[in-house]
C-alpha cells in the first residue's frame, strides 16, 4: 500500500480566471510522473487535496471529468492561507495533488435514470465533472433526461460559461441558467435558483434523481422545492463540505455522527444526512 499522505507531484499547465471578480481561478495540472495519472483514476464527485509545500493542503472537488485525459482541473476560490498562495502561483510551478479522495455520485445507481442537477455559485465544479461525464458519447445513452438548473449572482459569476452556452445549444441536455437580477444581453432566466427550479425542473419520481450543490442558503430553499416536486429524500443527493486534513478518514475532524465527510462522503443522500447530526 502506498503512503496516503504523499502527494503526486504536478505542474501547473494553465491558469484561467473563472469569475469576473477574479475570486476564482481554474488550475489545470499535469502529472510530472506519467504513471501517477493512472493511479489518480477518479470518478465524478470526488475531491483531492491540493498540496503546497510550506503552506499546507486544501480539499477541493475535482472539476475535470474522468473522460478528459492528460490533465486534471480544479476551480479554486481564494479564501484562506493555501488558496491565497495558490492564486499567486504561476504556470509551470510545481506542487502536489493527493487523491482521489472520498466517494462519488452514485453512477451505478444513476444509470438509466433521469438526472436533475441544481447548482449555485461556485459549487459547480464536481457538477461540471458530472455533466461532461454524462454527455460523453460513450455514456450519454446510459442516462435518461438531463436537466441543469445553475444560478449565480451575475452572468460573470457563472463558472465554465463557454461550456454552459455550448450545452444550451444541445438538445440532449436541458439547461436552465439563471442570474439574480436582470443584466444586459442576458437571454436566460432571472431569479434565484429555488424558484427557477420549481418552475423548470422535472417532477420527481422513482426514476429521477436530483444532485444538489450550492451555498447553504440555496440548499435551504431548494430542498423544500424539490420535496414539493415529488423528490423523496433518498432521491436527493448532496455533497457536503467540512474542515478536513487527511482526507481519508483518520484525522477525525470532519465527522458528522459516525460518518466522516472525507471518507464516507462527501456525497450523501438527504435521507442519510437526516439521520446524522447537522455538524457541517
Amino acid at each position: 500500500m502506498e503512503n496516503p499522505y504523499l502527494p503526486y507531484p504536478v505542474r501547473i499547465d494553465d491558469i484561467e480566471i473563472a469569475t469576473e471578480d477574479k475570486s476564482l481561478k481554474t488550475f489545470k495540472f499535469v502529472f510530472i510522473n506519467k504513471e501517477d495519472e493512472e493511479k489518480f483514476a477518479y470518478k465524478a464527485g470526488q475531491f483531492a487535496e491540493l498540496s503546497i509545500p510550506g503552506k499546507g493542503e486544501i480539499p477541493i472537488g475535482i472539476a475535470s471529468s474522468p473522460v478528459e485525459k492528460g490533465f486534471v482541473t480544479f476551480t479554486v476560490n481564494r479564501a484562506g492561507l493555501v488558496t491565497t498562495h495558490l492564486h499567486n502561483m504561476k504556470k509551470g510551478d510545481v506542487m502536489g495533488i493527493r487523491g482521489p479522495l472520498g466517494n462519488w455520485y452514485p453512477w451505478d445507481l444513476l444509470a438509466g435514470k433521469n438526472i436533475l442537477i441544481v447548482g449555485g455559485g461556485f459549487a459547480f465544479t464536481t457538477l461540471r465533472s458530472s455533466i461532461i461525464y454524462m454527455l460523453d458519447p460513450e455514456n450519454r445513452s446510459r442516462f435518461g433526461t438531463i436537466d441543469v438548473v445553475y444560478g449565480a449572482r451575475t452572468p460573470g459569476m457563472l463558472l465554465y460559461k463557454d461550456e454552459l452556452i455550448e450545452w444550451e445549444k444541445r438538445d440532449d441536455i436541458n439547461m436552465h441558467l439563471t442570474i439574480d437580477s436582470p443584466a444586459e444581453g442576458w437571454a436566460y432566466n432571472v431569479g434565484f435558483t429555488p424558484p427557477v427550479t420549481e418552475e423548470k425542473a422535472p417532477k420527481g419520481d422513482e426514476n429521477t434523481y436530483a444532485i444538489v450543490c450550492g451555498p447553504p442558503v440555496m440548499i435551504k430553499f431548494t430542498l423544500p422545492v424539490l420535496e414539493k416536486l415529488g423528490y423523496t429524500h433518498d432521491h436527493i443527493i448532496m455533497s457536503l463540505e467540512n474542515r478536513m486534513k487527511c482526507g481519508f478518514g483518520m484525522c477525525g475532524r470532519c465527522g458528522i455522527g459516525k460518518e466522516l465527510v472525507c471518507k464516507d462522503g462527501p456525497v450523501f443522500t438527504l435521507d442519510q444526512i437526516n439521520q446524522t447530526p447537522r455538524e457541517y
Binding site: 509545500p53 510550506g54 483518520m250 455538524e279
Partner: protein, 346 residues
C-alpha cells in the same frame, strides 16, 4: 498456554540482555514526583514496575505528539524543489515493558482507525508492528479504574504479547503470541513455571477484578438512535464546567485525532502530524468562518458521542474507552466519563 517463571533476581539481567535486539520502553518514575511517565528507557535505566497509571498514556510510542511525515525543499536549484519526499525512517524492534493491559488494549481500538482495509497510516502501523507488548497485570486497581466494564480489564490479554503477573519474588510470564515468546527468549527467560501457575494467575485475576469498584454500562446506548442521544437535554449541564482545555483527549490512550502542519526552516521543511483535539474550536473551523461545532457544548458532546456511540456504531464494537480513568483524574473541573455514560445509557 505456556507460562514462564522469571525470578526477580534475573529481571534486570534479562532486560539488559534483551537490549541487544530490542529498544526498551517502560514507565519511568519522574524525579521527586509521585507518578511515572512512559518513555524510552536509557541504557542503564530499568522500568518502574511499581508504577501506577502513567500520567500520559503510552499511545505516544506509535503516535508521538508531533511526528515528521514528509519533507521538502523550497530551494529552486534543487530538482526536487516543491516535491514532497518520505524521509528514511527506521522501526527497530521495541519492547514495551510494564504496559498496563488496558493501555495495550487501547492500541487495538486505535488500530481500527489507522489500519483499515482501504488505507493504512504507515507511521502508526510501522511503529505499532515494531512493538512487542510485555504487559504487567494490574493487581491494585485505582479508584478510577473501570476497565472490567469496557471489555478490557486488569489482566486483559487482548493487546499483549506477554502478560506478566507479579507473584512476589518472581513474575509469571504468560506467553500470548510468538512475538512475546521471541522477546522472552532474547531476554534469556525460559524456565517453565509449575503446573499450578495458570491457576495462580487466574486466582490473582479474580482478586484484582473484585477490587475494581466502578463500572459503566452502555447496553442501552447501543439501542438508542444517534439523534436521540445527540438531542438529549443533559448536554448543557454536562458541558457547563468544561473549559475546553483538551487535557482529557491528550491523556487518553484511545484519542487519535491529529492535525497536519507544514514547518519551513530556511529552504527546508517538514510536513508534520501533530496531536489535535475535538475540544478546540479550531478543529472544525471552516475558512468561511462558519464552525459546525462553534459552542463548547457541541464539542463536549462530540467527544462523548464519539467515544460512547459513534465508535460503537461504526465498528459494531464496544466503546472507544478502556476504562483507565486518566481523563477523570486529569480533568481540572472533574467531568467524569462514567457519569456521562450513565446519563447516555439512562
Amino acid at each position: 498456554m505456556e507460562i514462564i517463571k522469571i525470578n526477580k533476581k534475573d529481571w534486570n539481567g534479562g532486560l539488559a540482555k534483551s537490549r541487544k535486539a530490542y529498544r526498551l520502553y517502560g514507565p519511568i518514575r519522574v524525579a521527586d514526583k509521585y507518578f511515572s511517565e512512559f518513555g524510552a528507557l536509557a541504557e542503564d535505566e530499568v522500568p518502574d514496575m511499581s508504577a501506577t497509571d502513567t500520567r500520559l498514556s503510552p499511545k505516544s510510542i506509535a503516535f508521538p505528539p508531533s511526528e515528521v511525515m514528509l519533507e521538502y525543499t523550497l530551494d529552486e536549484n534543487s530538482e526536487d524543489c516543491n516535491i514532497m519526499k518520505v524521509p528514511e525512517k527506521e522501526y527497530p524492534h521495541r519492547a514495551i515493558i510494564g504496559i498496563r493491559p488496558y493501555d495495550a488494549a487501547a492500541y487495538l481500538l486505535v488500530k481500527k482507525n489507522f489500519d483499515t482495509s482501504e488505507v493504512r497510516d504507515p507511521y502508526w502501523c510501522d511503529a505499532y508492528d515494531a512493538c512487542t507488548f510485555i504487559g504487567l497485570a494490574v493487581q491494585e486497581p485505582s479508584l478510577l479504574d473501570f476497565s472490567t466494564s469496557t471489555n478490557s480489564g486488569p489482566f486483559d490479554e487482548s493487546g499483549l504479547d506477554v502478560l506478566l503477573v507479579d507473584a512476589g519474588d518472581s513474575y509469571l510470564a504468560k506467553v500470548i503470541t510468538d512475538k512475546g515468546k521471541a522477546y522472552l527468549k532474547a531476554a534469556g527467560w525460559g524456565k517453565e513455571a509449575g503446573k499450578d501457575a495458570a491457576g495462580k494467575i487466574e486466582a490473582l485475576k479474580k482478586k484484582a477484578e473484585a477490587k475494581i469498584q466502578s463500572s459503566v454500562s452502555f447496553d442501552n446506548i447501543r439501542q438508542k438512535s444517534v439523534m436521540e442521544l445527540f438531542e438529549a437535554d443533559f448536554w448543557e449541564d454536562t458541558a457547563f464546567a468544561c473549559m475546553n482545555c483538551g487535557t482529557c483527549t491528550y491523556v487518553c490512550p484511545t484519542c487519535w485525532c491529529f492535525d497536519i502542519q507544514d514547518e519551513t526552516h530556511g529552504k527546508k521543511g517538514v510536513r508534520l502530524k501533530v496531536w489535535d483535539s475535538c475540544m478546540y474550536p479550531l478543529f472544525t473551523l471552516h475558512t468561511t468562518g462558519h464552525n459546525p461545532r462553534d459552542a463548547k457544548v457541541q464539542r463536549v458532546r462530540q467527544r462523548f458521542m464519539h467515544k460512547l456511540k459513534y465508535f460503537m456504531d461504526k465498528y459494531e464494537d464496544g466503546i472507544m474507552c478502556v476504562g483507565c480513568g486518566r481523563c477523570i483524574r486529569s480533568c481540572p473541573v472533574n467531568i467524569d466519563i462514567r457519569n456521562v455514560c450513565q446519563l447516555m445509557n439512562g
